[in-house]
Symmetry: C2
Subunit: 280 residues, 2 copies
């Protein structure tokens, strides 16, 4: 496995593989790889012939005052994990390789990105869609994998790819959890002991909401149930909990049909997100 | 030469050609092809192995009250012209093939699209960049040609392609003019006899500005000269004339260096644009 830092090296390597008829897979990440990412890399190794993992802590998707500077970085450790799983190339550019000084193009998925996490993090999804658009253009994979833990991100990227007719298939991977239910996240390492102890309650609350939904509760009832459950734990500061239609992310129109219950909450300085999809 | 209406047909046809090792060229147009377009198709026939001409009157780049409905359409005539020159495929989708009902993704080149024509036509360039992004993703050409008559459009598209790392080379073709200097435009056919008679004065005024620039006039002096010349003809309603730096489209900082003098003016209901590039 090779680690490259420039777009040209990626393009050359991918071209050579494509000329051999190989199906190219991409797993875009910000590094600090955990089992959630690694499950996507495994899916890519199974679902394509030649796997690129990109590792880039993209500054444009962090807002002012967010954790860009302290976001965990471990390129060597990440590379070792990817190699063990059977990835073929790590693309780890720096910001100046990715962005020209006078870069001014933004890809925006309007209507899907202003709500949920987008409401708490203005500009965040513009940063995500723009960098993912670039990564897809640089690597030109046949398939790319994203985790369902970042549910809104997955929906937004699928929409971008469809709307812009990008020639790539977007695949979602299941959320990987600790044994106590906490969704894996690179940000979990920010949590202090007591914070880590209560963190799984986010998922518990979502599961409780999902149970109520399956028994016929409406979207707004589900939201109240989750919020009430989280309200029991004073360390949580709820940002939002919403039960929405899984593709449009719009409020539910009817009592039946699938929904995703998505929530974001801070514990101290750490922002956690999670979601549960309730099938019909 | 074949005319296809769906993205899938284009993709299949291009894949087959690419598998044969052919270099793919694209000339995106809105149809009503004149010698300006045809010179681009000729350049594409010379500069690539297999040429797609797209013909799509893109509704999202027309503002309210603009000429979307009366914009000239002549698919049969256009196809005959392209075939004669040696193009290989016409892609002529309708709007519902191009845009899903819930399409919501916009590609925006911020900073370059608010000025010049963008100031007169809010949203115009978002429509252009988004549809060109889509066309490039659908056809996946190695090279694509755009006319320099739409100077700002060319600069904006080059910037989009660079910023988003799109794997395509953008080539500009020279403005083709009538014998009296009027830049060819599909909109020239809107002009009445008297309007057509005075229309070449737009280019004359720009040439006069360029002459002054070559003799050392500053950007603002050049703008005044062009505006004054156009002011002599009461049928012209000047929208803007600006002398700007050719890549950033910013006001000129120094007295030396290249400039583009760009202008837009209405004659009656017809909006004309033109530009002259002054090398150092």
């Amino acid at each position: 496995m090779k680690i490259v830092k420039t777009k040209q090296e990626v393009r050359d390597a991918v071209s050579a593989q494509r000329a051999e008829g190989r199906i190219i897979g991409l797993v875009p990440t910000m590094g600090a790889l955990h089992e959630g990412h690694l499950s996507l890399v495994r899916a890519a190794v199974e679902g394509s012939d030649w796997v690129v993992v990109s590792i880039f802590v993209n500054p444009t998707q962090f807002g002012e005052g967010e954790d860009l500077d302290r976001y965990p970085r471990d390129l060597e450790g990440d590379a070792a994990k990817c190699e063990e799983i059977g990835a073929h190339l790590i693309f780890a550019p720096n910001a100046s390789e990715m962005y020209a000084g006078d870069a001014c193009t933004v890809v925006r998925v309007e209507g899907l990105t202003e709500k949920l996490c987008g409401a708490c993090r203005p500009g965040h999804f513009d940063g995500v869609t723009t960098v993912v658009n670039k990564l897809l253009n640089i690597v030109q994979p046949d398939r790319a994998w994203f985790g369902r833990k970042d549910y809104q991100q997955l929906v937004v990227i699928r929409r971008m790819v469809r709307d812009l007719d990008m020639p790539v298939e977007i695949l979602g991977g299941p959320t990987v959890r600790e044994s106590d239910g906490l969704a894996l996240s690179s940000r979990n390492q920010y949590l202090g002991d007591r914070e880590r102890e209560v963190a799984p309650k986010l998922y518990e609350a979502l599961l409780q909401g999902a149970g109520a939904a399956r028994e016929g509760a409406s979207g707004s009832e589900v939201e109240r149930i989750v919020a009430a459950k989280l309200g029991e734990e004073p360390l949580f500061e709820l940002q939002y909990v919403q039960a929405v239609e899984p593709n449009s992310l719009r409020p539910l129109k009817s009592e039946t049909g699938p929904m995703v219950i998505a929530a974001a909450a801070c514990i101290g300085d750490t922002r956690l997100i999670d979601n549960v999809v309730v099938e019909e």
